[in-house]
Symmetry: C2
Subunit: 402 residues, 2 copies
């Protein structure tokens, strides 16, 4: 098999951990597999480099930031190659130039475009373990770029796609994707298999295990992803296109209490108002999540939407500026809410999911402020203080425990 | 003018020093020059990276060492580009891939082969200050190499040669090349101009300002070198092919007390013996400096040579192993010697230099153990304790002070 593995920065933070990971890699290699490993920068290296840059300039050039930050991963792959050699395994480190990791030109937030897998293939043919710098690429000007958040996961999936790898293992500090956050729901259980779409919904709902970009890429190229722990030998969670038939209706429950609701009240009920409002917000890079519009009444309507609570200051400023143009009577902000969602590919064929969820809320006396549904997800907005209670109630109601 | 400048690691060790150097670079740029700057890794960065590698492996792969160490210079050029931008000057950093710095394949000690100056030219055409990583290159396998000792100086000279730069300024912590080490000879005076050949002799004699590799390369491509201080505005020393006519007979006096003399006694006087001995030493990477062979007597001869004192342990081992094959009667080691040399291109046309030097030794009652001469250099071996006295006496005798 050809296996791509990705280890994050904390897994390679010092010599001891590097050797732990090297052992892990060696085990896969010894089983007769071809192994490509993507690494992040060691522990605090990236933060240290950012500090250095900030000492020079409050707003350093993004191009130069990428030139600077990309050195972190290069150090990781070189050190890992040394560790593998020390254990007696042949290994070669490669950087973005060497694997032809072509990206768009946007520094600090580039998108992958193409990989020239020739060099990696050549090294694999020589029975070398190949160590590739995560998070970075090069643009058409031959300049170094970095991929932004979740970059190394994305690198791993892209390499797996380019090489048609049998699987792409993302090693992390948890041993898989859970039916709910185990710190909130005691009975939460590791999910054996989950579809890309479900994983995308869960990731955006705050499961925080895999970055959406890497899941999207895996879905696009049908790369089998495995999320597993670098600390234990547990099997982990497999993310793929189609899962077993006898799966549960619901894959998981997620909660997010870092949100705020904005209600624009008494908007003149004429065409183009909503368009104007959300275009303005998008232009200011405000990510809007749930949107709800009331039925018009007295020639006016109300529009409510949720945003990340960190964006609220910006939203308040934008609303204040456009209050008159949008013809608002009033505006209301609520930061005491949380969003709880259930996700499951089985949901689309089963009408009872929503009612079961609402019943669980009714039984535990939790008031629902807003509801939003998609084909594989139902989200509700409730009081922040009720979030943990709601997650447990829903988890019980759908019997997510065997 | 097109000017290449090189700054060492201590000049860019922290944010404050980076800004000092940035000011310096900006001054040259403001005068209307095209400026290419070669930088070393910051202060202790290289040593810190070596420590990290040694924690992983006592004898790390050289290829991976180069992958690791080359990140240091990349950080320096990125940070300097940020500092120049902060001061309001356009700057771009480039690494070995981007400037096509082709080298031989020998990791950790590669030789430069070729530079593709297109990218640097393009950046200069855009009126950018170009910052290039010193010390590193890439081999024909697309792998990163480093150039070994004096690497960044060599990078600077090579770029100056490839771009036909008007001069190559090497910034260091002294303000030029002196007629003798100012710490030893109080009257030592900065040399205004010196030829490549003289500089080569002085460098190998321990002047420690410029590395021989960079001087050799400068000579080969006729690159005008300037050695000057990064701390003062003093003019520095110009190194070039032909110097002014009215120069002094002698350029400088150098002393080296980190040497040892090896005397092989009673070697059978048959052809091929010396060849055998020095081939064996060369194969073991022992650099032999002065060689002196006595006139044969009783069918045997003596051969004495000097080596760096750090090589003595190895030499003793080699001699012990080959004692019988070489047919040695005895061997003698002397670590209490020093080498003092005078260098000057004017010497070749003047027979009186040697006798003046010997006279100075006689006057100060210093015993000469060995003598070696070249066209532009005379070296003598004396007792280590006499070295400083000898340097001062010679400096006086040749009136190296105005």
């Amino acid at each position: 098999m050809l296996i791509v593995q990705k280890f994050g920065g904390s897994s390679v933070a010092n010599a001891e951990r590097i050797f732990n990971v090297a052992q892990r890699i060696a085990e896969t290699y010894k089983e007769g597999n071809d192994v490509v490993v993507v690494l992040s920068a060691q522990g605090d290296t990236t933060d240290d480099l950012i500090t250095k840059a900030k000492e020079i300039s409050k707003k350093p050039s993004k191009r130069e930031m990428d030139m600077l930050l990309s050195t972190g991963e290069q150090q990781s792959v070189a050190l890992m190659a040394m560790a593998l050699a020390e254990l007696g395994y042949p290994a070669t480190s490669l950087n973005a130039y060497q694997v032809g990791m072509m990206t768009t030109s946007t520094y600090m937030n580039a998108r992958l475009k193409k990989i020239k897998p020739d060099r990696i293939r050549r090294e694999l043919d020589r029975k070398n373990i190949v160590l590739v710098t995560g998070f970075q690429g090069m643009n058409r000007f031959d300049d170094i770029t970095t991929l932004g958040r979740g970059g190394s996961d994305t690198t791993a999936v892209a390499i797996a796609a380019a090489l048609h790898a049998d699987k792409c293992e993302i090693y992390t500090d948890v041993d898989g994707v859970y039916t709910a956050d185990p710190r909130v729901v005691k009975d939460a259980k590791k999910i054996e298999e989950i579809t890309y779409d479900e994983m995308l919904e869960l990731a955006s709902l705050g499961a925080k295990v895999l970055h959406n970009r890497s899941v999207e890429l895996a879905k696009k190229y049908n790369v089998e992803l495995v999320v597993r722990s670098s600390l234990t030998r547990a099997e982990g969670t497999v993310v793929k296109e189609v899962c077993k038939m006898e799966r549960m209706l619901i894959s998981g429950v997620a909660g997010d209490d870092e949100i705020a609701r904005v209600s624009l009240i008494g908007i003149e009920d004429t065409p183009g108002k909503a368009f104007d409002i959300f275009t303005t917000l998008a232009k200011k890079n405000i990510n809007v999540d749930i949107i709800l519009q009331s039925i018009g009444r007295d020639g006016t309507k109300d529009i409510s939407f949720t945003v990340a609570d960190t964006a609220l200051t910006d939203v308040k400023e934008i609303v204040a500026t456009h209050m008159d143009r949008w013809g608002l009577k009033d505006v209301d902000y609520n930061e005491n809410l949380a969003k709880v969602s259930v996700v499951g590919a089985g949901m689309v064929a089963n009408a009872g999911v929503a009612s079961k969820m609402f019943e669980a809320m009714y039984d535990t006396n939790i008031n629902i402020h807003m509801i939003s549904t998609s084909e594989i997800k139902i989200s509700i907005l409730i009081d922040k203080k009720d979030m943990h209670k709601a997650m447990n109630a829903i988890h019980d109601a759908f019997q997510l425990v065997d």
